[in-house]
Symmetry: C2
Subunit: 357 residues, 2 copies
DNA sequence: CTGAAAGCGCTTACAG
DNA sequence: CTGAAAGCGCTTACAG
């Protein structure tokens, strides 16, 4: 290393060429063995309380910070937590990431983010890369993964918590299937049904369902919508409008126009995501279609801006920040080797009635 | 490790307890020394081409993948790249992150994300944590950092590229100041001035500037607005509306109401960010104020949804995805030890004229 | 161009 | 409760 000479001679007596304060430096200064320092600093049981204190004092005086790479190499476990989300262009997942990341960092973990773009093979590849870093834990969106991915997750032995979804209750009742996965989310199907029933209760009868992106959670909302309409005896299959393209305001506008053109008698539209619904609201304004008197519009997720629309958007508020945080917390528990109180945590949802319905 | 017995006996002859295929495994199978394998795989010069080929073949047959932790420990350099952004709740920074992350991953680097919340001491703390991982490179938002942070960045010797901003040209002309930082962005001040001139050219005279968050880049847009108005001889200091709160649609609505109440004669408002402008547009709709005939509204950044507003929002399109990508590319160059073509890359901006002005 | 050897900074059975 | 020793899986001067 070229002229370390130029740096001022510090008062610290680091032996290493790298200039880093190491475990041995602390051990020497504290007059104990490196093993003891290692144990004391990690709060391992079986260390004399007096020693712990001394070691901690010396350690912080010297400004010692453990080297993550060395630690990972020796222990075969890093302080990284990998998180897999579909997209960064959907505020939903960003909120999830933000909350999880905040919680994990507070506990001393670095987040390794992977963006799958809803592509199963990209997800698999990302997981492989992340696993190389021997993450201490794994956070993944959804419960649907291809078999290889699932196998990678299982065989890695890395604690894993799933986000945004819960296993269907019937697969849960069978005693013989795979171990129930850890997950934090809410019942997407129920949420879809609840919003639909809410629209029915307000007197709507011809309720269309309009969706984009069509990920598994969107499909569950669709099933919820279906079953609620069937319950009420007003299910009409041709009122499903599904578009696999990514969700956006612009697409919401386009879909709204199509629906109003093709099915002018529709009296409500349930959009699977707020951005679509917001776009529909803007389109209605442009087209001079009055909401909610001519047609009611509802969204899902309560994204930012929905309360500012004209009329303000009725939607389902989903606790994504709380999901991110709770999932991180559950993962921390698992990483400590403990069992979480509940392996499946249902954080629910809330219907937000505003002026668009 | 409990019953590794249960896993089927592989054809691989891994010596290690961990079951990982290591460098030595490859070396043995290829009949060369570990050092040679190491060099061959990293494409170091000074290795017999024939050997390189053989080693690569063996390596991929055995499914060898280098251990990042071991590599980081031995080389004192990881394959992490740290990125520091202010917020995840602003789409601008998410776009930056998304693009940078994509580019870096393609080159084999893992992104370590740090969210500063516009807090200088949090930024410093995050940087310290990230530096522990010996990142191969650093991407940071903006050019403004507290002295300690700057010192950490410098003394770490880690290549660093700044995002979204460029040094003022006059500080550049002095030959005696600090080495010019690497950066990719555009001239915020000029963009602010350009939009203001655009409004002036369309006949507006009493142009207010409304801003939130007030980060250094927002302030530069303010300076641009000021100088353009001064040039035109219509600068009016009381038309500055600055609010340090985070930017949002709701706040844009509130600010719009205030401005129209306090200064009804204003004929245009330049909002420092599209979310504020979108909120203002919605508020105008609610209040029955017609845009642009009574007052013109312009935003900044061309965020998603701005083209869907009613009227569609005039704004400045900023190349944030391209900035993220180009900055990552520049960083990759620096990490290779090469010099980028241009240490400062100006990616410009574009005025998008729509119906709101 | 290639290899033997030391070293990166920790953790973890293994003894005591 | 504590320590000596081996080992995690690489890289990198140093010789040749």
């Amino acid at each position: 290393m070229p002229n370390t000479v130029s740096s001022p001679p510090k008062s610290v007596k680091s032996q290493r060429a790298t200039g880093r304060v190491t475990l041995s430096d602390v051990a020497q200064a504290a007059g104990v063995s490196p093993s003891t320092v290692s144990r004391a600093l990690r709060g391992e049981r079986a260390v004399d309380p007096a020693l712990i204190e001394r070691v901690q004092a010396v350690s912080s005086k010297l400004g010692y910070v453990p080297d993550p790479a060395a630690r990972a190499l020796a222990s075969q476990r890093s302080n990284h937590v990998a998180i897999l989300i579909p997209l960064l262009s959907n505020a939903l997942f960003v909120d999830l990431l933000d909350a999880a990341q905040k919680t994990l960092r507070a506990a001393g973990f670095q987040t390794l983010m992977g963006v799958t773009h809803y592509d199963a093979s990209e997800e698999e590849q990302l997981l492989r890369e992340q696993l190389l870093h021997r993450p201490a834990g794994l956070l993944v969106t959804g419960l649907d993964h291809n078999p290889v991915t699932r196998k990678l997750m299982d065989s890695s032995q890395v604690p894993c918590v799933h986000l945004m979804d819960l296993p269907t209750s019937n697969s849960n009742s069978t005693g013989t299937n795979d171990a129930a996965p850890y997950c934090v989310g809410f019942r997407q199907t129920e949420a879809g049904a609840a919003l639909t029933r809410h629209l029915l209760a307000s007197g709507r009868q011809r309720i269309a369902f309009a969706a984009a992106q069509l990920d598994p959670r969107v499909m569950q909302r669709l099933y919820g919508w279906r079953s609620a309409l069937q319950e009420a005896g007003v299910y009409e299959p041709t009122l499903e409008f599904l578009n696999p393209a990514p969700s956006s305001l612009a697409l919401g506008g386009v879909m709204f126009e199509q629906i109003m053109q093709q099915r002018p008698a529709v009296d409500a539209i349930f959009f699977c995501n707020d951005d679509l619904a917001q776009g529909a609201l803007m389109a209605a304004l442009r087209m001079g279609i009055s909401v909610p008197s001519q047609v009611a519009i509802a969204g899902f997720n309560d994204l930012t801006g929905s309360d500012q629309m004209l009329p303000a958007l009725t939607t389902v508020r989903t606790p994504r920040a709380r999901i991110g945080e709770a999932a991180a917390q559950m993962l921390l528990t698992l990483m400590r080797g403990e069992a979480p109180e509940l392996p499946q945590l249902d954080l629910g949802f809330e219907i937000i009635q505003r002026q668009s319905t």
